[in-house]
């Protein structure tokens, strides 16, 4: 952390030094209301959780390396799949996206800080207790939650107190997300520099604005669902128990009314990052800016109308199946528009392939595969065969890992020079990309085959015909996991000893953050810039 710019870097002629007073050491981070400090906290928290969730993933892949039980017991295996999902979604991907938002939105719209600086501090500091609740639930009697990250009752009603800790963790993380979103919405709507109309904002700010609205809309729904679980567990209600007039499937409806928008919450900030990187390294403006904004808005609206495609085998009525199938298929249209626009941005550009661009192209390529398999899953009769199989596991890792995570890697390399004033080692970053790309595909591509051939997900042991592809996937997973140590090394090396970066390290960078020095001074845009 020592490398994060403070007082001594303000000598870039901006005259900010008199404003950069803040406590030193740990108190700086606990009491900070500075959007850059808080962004940094979010990003390191996200990386830490990524490692914790990654270790859980490797535990899963170690057990699945061969048929038979070798490494863990089935109950612990179920806890691993459950916590891996919860930690990656709520601990790694969402806070990672908020970290990028904290750092970049004020810099991109010319605002001095986030609108609610103290609430920003509180939104972050809610997260570590939630993470501690989740991780320590492994050590309570009965073990951690083991019913899958989707927490379907009645299985969750049977569970021990680890489930209660999980429910409280979700409440806390939900509160954090709602506060973060209100902050982002207010910042974008009220603190833009003079002349920066909404339709002149960088696309990253647009995708986050829409994401924040989705979060405010659906996080309370999740809180409601898990609260009903809690009262069913301890206070004698029967929301999800048919014996008392409830319905276990009700939980699934409420959960996925949150859960489907949630997956767009995770991918849309990534869309934004990619929409910043591709124009920069194509040296060309983003193609179809307005249609990009409309496409994101369209996806957001549709995301509220498709939740029951996660429930195609629960026995929905025919009309329901048809409605949710058609609505889900429609999402392919705005998603296609986005992919075509990114390609058109590259078309006749002047392309270079630094690490951010490599990750953006990797994103484009693999996210599109994930989009196509999503379309396959949307066809209800096909989904009957592949629902709850490894095909679905492959599908959502193509959009969550090769989609969002690759965009985060690309975004990290893209903005690291701005964050710490130093350049990363291009060669190491490119090796990081190629290893990630290759190992990702070795891990997840065979899972399509496993799912089609009939291997259910969330099982600790499997029939012999699935042995070969599982072994391939496990080898890939360990390769992918260890590759991320290289990412850590590359980032630390950059922070400690990278060569100094200019204010605008990328020739094609046109947005406002490249007009302030690198590293970005502790306070920026105290006098708003004028945008023409």
């Amino acid at each position: 952390m020592s490398s994060i710019p403070h007082d001594h870097v303000a000598g870039h002629g901006e005259g900010h030094e008199e404003h950069a007073h803040h406590p030193a050491g740990i108190m700086r981070w606990i009491t900070t209301t500075n959007h850059k400090d808080i962004g940094t906290l979010y990003l390191w928290f996200s990386f830490t959780m990524f490692i914790v969730g990654g270790v859980m993933a490797l535990t899963i892949r170690a057990e699945l390396f061969q048929p038979g039980l070798q490494v863990v017991h089935p109950e612990f295996f179920n806890s691993m799949t459950t916590l891996h999902g919860l930690i990656m979604v709520f601990g790694a991907l969402m806070p990672g996206a908020v970290g990028f938002a904290n750092w970049m939105i004020p810099l991109q719209i010319g605002a001095p800080d986030m609108a609610f600086a103290r609430m920003n501090n509180w939104s972050f500091w809610l997260l570590p207790p939630a993470a501690i609740l989740l991780v320590t639930s492994l050590f309570v009697p009965g073990g951690a939650a083991a019913a899958g990250w989707t927490l379907y009752p009645p299985l969750t009603i049977q569970a021990g107190m680890g489930m209660d800790l999980t429910i409280f963790a979700i409440h806390i993380m939900g509160a954090s997300s709602i506060m973060g979103s209100i902050n982002i919405i207010t910042t974008i709507l009220n603190l833009r520099a003079p002349g920066m109309t909404l339709m002149k904002m960088p696309l990253f700010c647009w995708t986050w604005l829409i994401t924040a609205y989705l979060l405010v809309a659906v996080m309370p729904v999740l809180a409601g669902a898990v609260t009903m679980l809690l009262t069913d567990r301890h206070f004698g209600t029967t929301f999800f128990n048919a014996a008392g007039g409830g319905d276990p499937v009700l939980f699934q409806h409420v959960f996925w009314f949150f859960g489907h928008p949630e997956v767009y919450i995770i991918i849309m900030p990534a869309f934004g990052i990619i929409s910043e990187i591709i124009p920069t390294f194509s040296r060309k403006p983003l193609f179809g800016y307005a249609s990009m904004v409309y496409a994101v808005a369209g996806i957001a609206v549709l995301s509220f109308l498709v939740w029951a495609h996660h429930m195609f085998t629960t026995g929905l009525p025919t009309a329901g199946l048809l409605f949710y199938m058609y609505a889900t298929m429609l999402i392919a249209v705005p998603t296609g528009v986005k992919v075509f626009n990114w390609l058109a941005t590259m078309w006749k550009g002047s392309l270079t392939f630094e690490a951010p661009m490599l990750f953006a192209i990797g994103f484009l390529f693999l996210f599109t595969i994930g989009g196509f398999t999503g379309l396959v899953c949307a066809i209800q009769p096909i989904d009957v065969q592949i629902q709850d199989t490894y095909y679905v596991v492959a599908h959502f890792h193509y959009v969550m890992v090769a989609g969002t995570l690759f965009a985060f890697f690309g975004g990290t390399y893209y903005w690291l020079p701005k964050w710490c004033g130093r350049m990363y080692d291009e060669k190491l970053a490119e090796i990081h990309f190629w290893l990630s790309f290759v190992f990702f595909n070795i891990t997840f591509f065979p899972m399509h085959f496993l799912g089609l051939a009939g291997m259910p997900r969330r099982i600790p042991d499997y029939a012999q015909q699935f042995a070969d592809w599982n072994m391939v996937a496990s080898i890939g997973a360990f390769g992918f996991g260890f590759t991320q140590l290289l990412f850590f090394y590359t980032v630390v090396k950059c922070i400690r000893s990278g060569p100094s970066a200019p204010a605008r390290p990328w020739e094609g960078g046109t947005t406002l953050e490249w007009t302030v020095p690198s590293p970005a001074p502790y306070h920026t845009f105290e006098t708003p810039p004028i945008v023409k």
Partner: protein, 383 residues
């Protein structure tokens, strides 16, 4: 040792597949590995298979076209070959085209999918109906018209799962009592569950239906080929979720009729007289089987359980204490703080089975109470 041997075999197969892939092209290599949907044996599964193939190829064509353009751009429009960036950033015509064309392609996909959905949901006019109930962790099949039913448990020995014995051909996909149905007949399934949500799935039939406690859903299949078909529970249902397979034997109509007769005769013969007085030896033999089929998943064959979630029976106060307490526990299950625990009620077992399994637990491992529990005591306790 066994584990290492398995690993070598799998490794060798993988190596062969990789070599084949390099030498013979992808088609030949894929033949050695499972990589596509299982061969369909019902009209619905066939339609699903065709639908998947159709949509797969549409996606492949679009993918190749779109990324062909991207790679062309990557090679021709790079700065290192001196390409100058054009500054265009809008073209309404192009944008309308690439919004409308995907929409039309989607219509093409939606049409056959709709037809299949309508066919799948039509459960009318079945030849026979079987009620399927999912339990943690086994299936129960009730032949409603024939008046008999049975449980279907995993038949793979624990030794194979724990790598103490070589794994069989149908490792984890074998059961003691399969569902038996006649060929070429529309079989309607009424699916529900007794505890948590399960899902009944046989890939070759194209049937997957969640089993929801407290609700009954229906689905159907019509197998067109005699044979044995295997599937698994597809909804996470707790610790042994990976160990509750589904096996369906499709028999010719004659064989099926014979099987039904045999089944009815067996039920008649096995009807236990609840007033019969059993001796310890017979109860222990019967109890061991009941224990293996119903209790060992949690309490373990060793009686040691998996504390704290699944308590040990060996040395347990309940098992070695007064009979009445243990009978009540088995019949009613255990509630803690007013909510059910993993120890559910076992009252669906017969009086004789419950008497046998209680006798077994009271006289196994370190427990040596010496006495028996008779079916008549269970009968009384039920009232």
């Amino acid at each position: 040792m066994v584990r290492i041997k398995t690993g070598n075999r799998a490794g060798r197969r993988l190596l062969q597949a990789m070599v084949a892939a390099v030498l013979l092209g992808p088609g030949a290599a894929m033949a050695a590995l499972e990589w596509n949907l299982q061969s369909p044996v019902t009209p619905i599964a066939q339609q699903i298979d065709d639908l998947h193939t159709f949509i797969f190829w549409i996606c492949v064509v679009i993918f190749v076209a779109v990324f062909g353009v991207m790679f062309y751009s990557i090679f021709r429009h790079r700065k290192s070959v001196g390409h100058e960036a054009h500054q265009f950033h809008e073209n309404t015509t192009v944008e309308i085209i690439w919004t409308v064309i995907p929409f039309l392609i989607l219509l093409f996909m939606a049409f056959p999918a709709t037809k299949t959905i309508l066919a799948m949901k039509d459960t009318s006019a079945p030849a026979m109906t079987v009620k399927v109930t999912g339990y943690q962790w086994k299936w129960n099949y009730d032949y409603l018209q024939e008046g008999f039913g049975f449980y279907s448990n995993l038949a793979t020995p624990t030794a194979q799962i724990e790598n103490r014995a070589p794994k069989g051909e149908h490792y984890l996909l074998e059961v003691d009592n399969p569902l038996v149905v006649p060929v070429d007949s529309k079989i309607r399934l009424l699916i529900t569950a007794g505890d948590v949500i399960h899902a009944w799935w046989v890939p070759a039939f194209g049937v997957k239906q969640d089993a929801i406690p407290g609700f009954v859903r229906d689905t159907w299949f019509k197998a067109e080929k005699v044979g044995t078909y295997r599937g698994q529970c597809a909804e996470l249902c707790g610790k042994e979720h990976g160990y509750m397979p589904i096996v369906v034997e499709v028999k010719s109509k004659d064989d099926y009729a014979k099987w039904v007769e045999a089944q009815k005769a067996k039920v008649a013969a096995a009807g236990d007289d609840p007033n019969k007085v059993w001796d310890l030896k017979d109860l222990l033999a019967r109890g061991e089987k009941v224990y293996a089929g119903n209790c060992a998943a949690c309490h373990q064959a060793t009686g040691k359980g998996v504390p704290p979630a699944f308590p040990a029976l060996d040395g347990s106060k309940v098992v070695t204490g007064p009979k009445a307490v243990q009978i009540k526990t088995v019949l009613n299950g255990v509630e803690r703080d007013g909510k059910p625990t993993a120890m559910v009620s076992w009252k669906q077992l017969s009086d004789t089975d419950i008497a046998a399994v209680i006798t077994y637990t009271r006289n196994s491992w370190g427990n040596q109470t010496g006495g028996t529990v008779q079916p008549s005591e269970i009968k009384v306790a039920r009232q």
